[in-house]
């Protein structure tokens, strides 16, 4: 018999979602069935209103004053691509944290943009004192993965942003993991391009995400990644230069955004602080359960995800055993972040990753800890 499911792959995508999320999505399909921003009939209006509501809620969530400085994309990968392609020019230089995801590294590489990796400590936390030294005359952007999707290490973005500002450089934060876990305020945190994905800590469905543009960003100088119909200025072949249409061509994902709206509202209603505290408590439990086990190596920070490796056991076998014997769903390997694994010394084999959500229980963590301990012992005995 298969054991009960224990989902600890929330860093890949959160599950379960609060019930209000699927309810909102069903409601959107039924009630907001028109095309937002195209036409004035009731169904189009209902869809447009919903789209505006989620834009406003997202802006508020990240502390942005102007809801139109939120551009929705299909995920953070698209958001990062929008910024890198739209903002950078040949000859620009970029600084990245030592924990970046391929959502950043691949576009940079493909674009032929020269970059340097900011020095970090052994956990990959950026050393603030080293930043200035790395800045060149043509450095235009610093890119920071706010919360690592491998170890959960959290970067001091506000201080990095401060240094960026002093040097007239822009800051892009990859908030894929941190959004919903850590309060983020675009202005206070000195962010220029706040990229987020909807389907992780914000409890929206897959296919949602976006970028919030800080006040320093001159929108007119950011080239759109996609151009096309916007329901505005249709007489012209030129892309509108105003927001949100400049970056939102094509019909938006109304059903998905209805889910994201509900996810954000759920976080507000529950209180982000309370949710975070619960997750921190679970992470502390997991960490202290794994910390002193012989044969287990722990890679962790202050976030809601951590990684381990088990001596003498390959990660694939470990994951299969964890699921078959204890029902634990996890993700192994490089987590699309080879740079982070190189930084942690876990490249190329990667790690076994666990990520909690407010729906995780203490019992789940107990079972997970027990499972890992058992595997480590069995592996040790085999030696």
């Amino acid at each position: 018999m298969m054991p009960e499911m224990i989902y600890l792959d929330n860093a890949a995508t959160s599950w379960p979602k609060p019930d209000c999320v699927s309810e909102a999505m069903t409601d959107a399909i039924r009630r907001c069935g028109g095309n937002p921003g195209r036409g004035g009939h009731r169904l189009a209006l209902a869809a447009g209103e919903l789209l505006y509501e989620v834009r406003e809620r997202t802006a508020e969530f990240f502390g942005a004053d102007d809801p139109f400085r939120v551009s929705f994309t299909s995920n953070i990968t698209m958001a990062v691509n929008l910024v890198l392609n739209g903002f950078l020019n040949p000859g620009d230089h970029v600084l990245v944290s030592p924990m970046e995801h391929n959502a950043v590294m691949r576009p940079l590489t493909a674009m032929g943009i020269s970059y340097d990796i900011l020095p970090g400590d052994r956990n990959g936390k950026v050393l603030l004192s080293e930043i200035q030294r790395k800045i060149r005359e043509n450095t235009r952007l610093i890119i920071i993965c706010h919360e690592s999707n491998v170890s959960g290490i959290v970067q001091p973005i506000r201080k990095i942003g401060q240094i960026a500002r002093e040097n007239n450089i822009f800051l892009l934060t990859d908030c894929a993991q941190s959004a919903g876990h850590i309060p983020i305020h675009i202005n206070t945190d000195n962010i220029d391009f706040l990229c987020f994905t909807g389907h992780k800590g914000l409890f929206g469905p897959t296919g949602t995400g976006g970028v919030v543009f800080g006040d320093r960003v001159d929108i007119g100088r950011i080239r759109p990644l996609v151009r096309g119909g916007t329901g505005s200025l249709s007489e012209s072949f030129d892309q509108p230069d105003f927001l949100p249409d400049r970056f939102e061509s094509g019909t938006q994902n109304i059903c998905g955004l209805a889910g994201l709206n509900a996810g954000l509202k759920w976080i507000e209603d529950q209180g982000q602080e309370k949710l975070t505290q619960r997750c921190r408590m679970l992470m502390d439990q997991l960490r202290s359960g794994l910390e002193l086990v012989p044969g287990i190596h722990l890679y962790s920070g202050e976030g809601q995800v951590l990684s381990i490796t088990i001596d003498g056991l390959d990660n694939g076998t470990a994951a299969a055993e964890l699921e078959e014997r204890w029902g634990i769903m996890t993700r192994i390997g490089l987590h699309c972040a080879p740079l982070a694994h190189k930084t942690l010394g876990t490249f190329p084999n990667g790690t076994i990753r666990f990520a909690v959500s407010p729906f995780t229980t203490q019992k789940d963590i107990e079972i997970c800890t027990e499972g890992c301990k058992t595997l480590a012992e069995e592996s040790w005995k085999k030696k």
Partner: protein, 76 residues
Amino acid sequence: MEKEMILLVHTSGHAFNIEKALKKRGIQCRLTPIPRKVSSDCGICVRFDPQNLQAVESFVQTLPFEIQGIISEDEA
């Protein structure tokens, strides 16, 4: 009933934004489909009472985006 004023926007999100902001300032308004003869493809506009024209005009000055214009129903 007196003829209404019609505020035309470039993109529908602006209409929702303006409707909300006007109501917050106690200025009655409503969203409707655009008048037949007007061309604006986002499809919706904000209607309000002419007695609030000045208030709406000065509010529009404070927006971080441009509107398409304000016309009276007669012109539409």
